[in-house]
Symmetry: C2
Subunit: 241 residues, 2 copies
């Protein structure tokens, strides 16, 4: 069965996601990025820019999973409260980080270092800075929590800096096949296939395209031989329709 796969979770922080104004793009990106490392994204919570909600989610998830990622709320405005919440969750203070300050001054090259800029350099004590190629304000790691910006481009840059802190597992390979018939026509046979392969996760994800119902059958496993055997049975099933 290989190594035990590490499990990760994500806290998406921001009123704008819960109001429907902004569609989150970070979940899918992080899921795929972790998948390539053999780390499974097992739970996601979307919470308001609210201290109780953020601290509650952080404390619940960092006990439950190997890694917790957060996106959003580390900017310079009053509604960016993630860092203060992370600090409170870990029972430490947040302070302007010396290294971050030096890098920012270099970047500003004589321009004014304003309060909002200073706010972005505050890091919970004990946190390790993670710079992004696209911004001078860093993300950071504290304990098993990885704190990132919400803007997808910046988040993706910070994520690359977190790579070295993560323990990779066996990579789960997935194969998927569309079947152009409603799920109820093949559900029983698919159940029988799943029952034969405990090493393979067999999922069926229905869709409707231009009024036609179908489903994508997805096989996921880190065991090549079982994956191949299971695939043969699924292709046989699909060929019947």
């Amino acid at each position: 069965m290989g190594k035990i796969v590490k499990q990760a979770s994500l806290v998406i922080i921001g009123d704008e996601i819960l109001s429907g104004r902004t569609e989150d793009k970070n979940l899918a990106y992080l899921a795929k990025w972790l998948g390539k490392l053999g780390i499974s994204l097992s739970e996601v919570r979307v919470v308001l820019d609210d201290e109780g909600a953020i601290i509650g989610a952080l404390n619940s998830l960092r006990k439950k999973y190997d890694y917790v990622f957060t996106t959003g709320g580390i900017g310079p405005t009053h509604d960016d409260i993630t860092t203060e919440c992370v600090a409170k969750a870990f029972g430490v203070e947040a302070k302007v980080d010396d290294d971050a300050l030096e890098k920012m001054k270099e970047f500003l090259d004589g321009k004014e270092l304003t309060e909002p800029l200073l706010k972005m350099l505050r890091i919970p004590v004990g946190g390790e800075l993670i710079y992004s190629p696209v911004t001078k304000a860093p993300g950071y790691k504290i304990g098993n929590v990885f704190v990132m910006a919400g803007i997808p481009k910046i988040m993706q840059g910070m994520l690359e800096g977190m790579y070295d802190y993560l323990e990779a597992g066996d990579v789960v390979k997935s194969r998927s096949y569309d079947i152009m018939v409603g799920e109820s026509f093949f559900a029983e046979e698919l159940t029988l296939i799943q029952e034969q392969f405990s090493n393979v996760s067999v999922g069926s994800y229905p869709f409707s395209r231009d009024g036609v119902y179908g489903a994508t059958i997805v096989l996921r496993s880190s065991n090549d031989s079982d994956l191949n055997s299971c695939e043969r049975l699924v292709l046989e099933l699909i060929s019947k329709f």
Copy 2:
């Protein structure tokens, strides 16, 4: 301050969302739909097709919020376990519903009623059926939990059937303005504006478009007069850049 706004939460159920294979479209749709009713979407959890995870999220959220919506996992295949989990969360059995069965038989018009179709007619005892215009397999309401399909088109149809069960609040109006300068340039002034209006939520959501950083300032309130006064100050702020 008007009526107390009801708070809702959403459980998105499905491995395919957490693997990044499928991008969820239901969160944003539900958020906007509820917003028009004056109901606030306050928390979202995305969980695997796993009994413990689903029941855990359901039981935690149905105590905490006025309404809990779920999407996904009510289809006919072996990985559709939402209904059994809802039943367990409420401590009741799930049974094939007589009304749902009758409607399905009518629809099938003599065609075979297979096991997978029957599975979709199972409803936790005490649940009230909610039909969708696009499918003969219903969603349902039990307690304060509203169970819907995951396919957006079907979910949206079911949601309309849930309208009558929801208590509307004061509608929160929102106005938004783009400011084409980085947040750190206006963060302090925006904080001062927020401090003057406790009735208005002032959010700032940064973006980068073609390499240019800016932010959308969003004002949300159910109090028209405060919203107007706050808007004037924000427009004044924007005009400085």
